[in-house]
Amino acid sequence: MNYEQSSDNLTELLYDFLDGSLAPEQEPRLFAALMHDTDLRAEFKEQMHINSAIAADEYAFTPPAASGDAIFARLGFGAANDNDVAPAPIFASSGGASSALSSEAAAVPTIASRMGSAFRRSASLVLVALLSSLLTAWLMRSGNSFGNGFGNELRNSFGNDVNMSMGGNNGGAGTPPYQVPPYQPSPWSSAGTSPRPFVIADTVFQTVIKRTIIVERSSGRDTTFLASPTGMTSSAPMAAQNQVQVPFSEATREASITPRMIAARDSTPPTAPPNTPPTLTTHPAPLLGLSIGARGIVSRSIIWATVPSQERFPTNTILSALYALSAQHSIGLEAGQEAFFQRYYFMNPQGVEFRVEQNPTLVWGGLAYRYTMLPESTFSPFAHVVAGATQVGGLGRGMVGVTYSPDTRTQFMLGAEASSLFYQVDGTWFMSPKLGVSYGVSIRF
């Protein structure tokens, strides 16, 4: 072993000692060399300085908190600090390389994560659909209870001399059958005018049924129109507004259906159906003017999103409560949760500019205004605007679309919307615009 080899060997021993990996049995040899070798001692001190400097390299050993948050966000986890939602630098301004990396990352999720992602995104759609179904089911059930005995009425309307029960629950046990009298024009009707509804009822909804029967018979269209459930159900509230209601009693019934009416019915053949069917106002103003709704959003950021959003259930869903100031104007409150892709720039204290990209799922709330163009129609265009706020900034959204009202209470909507998040970073305002389609259902009270 020559001197050079020996020196190299001692240096390696020194390095291992400084790294804490020198075997104990070799330490005496190193210490002995340090006592006599000035160069080795100098190198020892220099390496100690280097190690100390490296240990003080806080920049290297301190991952930015924003990087951690960005990682968690990309994996669908919440940020480490939930209060710090906005500033989460993810991709720096270096351009191509980082974009390529992020794109590559987004392109290689596992099948499991892909399925999980799809499930979470579709969960919001399912939520809206489920809510719609529940509300529709509730309405149908309400309609059945309101119109209990509807089936009997419908069947009975086909014949002239059948038993019908009137008053209370039709067909109920203990209710005496009532012989439908032959048709008699309404005592209030006059030539050249439509027959005035003749009403015998003890509830609003029975009023509707009885009135409809008589009106239709007067026009000779007793079966076709009555077979329409829509006509039956949608006419319910109308009865409260337009009809003459007579409290039900045996005396009223006997007084209303007279032998003259029966004779007239038997002697007068049904007239031909009119060219214009009776017009029923299907969408009167709701009683309370309140509309509760839920809608989903399918939207895409105008700024191409390179970062997947946090998958927080339910996302892209909005709940609304609107109050009708008039038939066309409504105001109310809306709240929702949806993702907004953010891209902004800021300078760190060292003067390095960062480009930040993140796609947080934000909860928002705001004031809403809706203008309904044709409130009396089954289909009506509308315009809808919202001004609100999220945890990180203001929110504005506008929507135009069409509502479909199959009955007085239920209303489905489909619209195209534009929205944007407005937020401020280091005194500079940024926005996250989106375009999308919104769909949903609301119930009017």
Binding site: E58, A60, P63, V108
Partner: protein, 188 residues
């Protein structure tokens, strides 16, 4: 979320395949344990801008998480993380143009003694002058505290070769810094 500070890396890695909240907690724990090492590697082992290093650092953990969905077991999580980071660094180096890197933001994060700061600046500059394989081995050894065997596994070489690279890097840094080290020694 339950704390997993006493769980081993292998146990935490296994939890990453769960579908409940333990997955997130396990990932956060692994990030807390190894984030510094991976970050140091990304920042110091590659000749890239700090922004690019941050990109690779984040991408490393994302890929690690995705890989954990299919990998059943993992005996050495930090080595696996560093291997992912290394592959990303190599890909980045392959795809990018040579750039002049100014680590302006390296030295002023917090108040440090002048001598240490100055020396650190010199070391970082010296690292830029090393060959890639030597710099990488040096960072894995000095910053990440890897054993020579771990370095060999990560960079795909023998243990002796890893040791040789580290020692050559140390010697070269010392030679680069020699004029300054003597001066700094007088100030410290």
């Amino acid at each position: 979320m339950p704390a997993y500070s006493t769980s081993s890396d292998a146990e935490l890695f296994g939890l990453l395949q769960n579908s409940d909240g333990s997955r997130e907690a396990a990932f956060r724990e692994l990030y807390a344990r190894h984030g510094k090492r991976v970050h140091a590697y990304c920042v110091r082992a590659m000749s890239a801008s700090p922004e690019e290093a941050e990109d690779i650092f984040q991408e490393t953990f994302v890929r690690f998480y995705n890989a954990a969905q299919s990998e059943r077991t993992m005996t050495n999580v930090p080595a696996f993380l560093l291997r992912i980071a290394r592959n990303l660094c190599l890909n980045h180096k392959r795809d990018s143009r040579p750039t002049l890197v100014l680590h302006d933001n390296d030295l002023h994060q917090k108040q440090q003694e002048y001598g240490t700061t100055e020396l650190l600046h010199l070391i970082i500059t010296a690292l830029e002058l090393l060959e890639d394989d030597q710099r990488e081995a040096f960072v894995l050894r000095k910053y990440d505290g890897c054993s020579f065997q771990e370095i060999a596994e990560i960079i795909g070489t023998t243990e002796n070769n890893a040791r040789s690279r580290v020692h050559r890097a140390q010697a070269k840094i010392r030679s680069i810094l020699a004029p300054y080290l003597a001066d700094i020694d007088q100030h410290l």
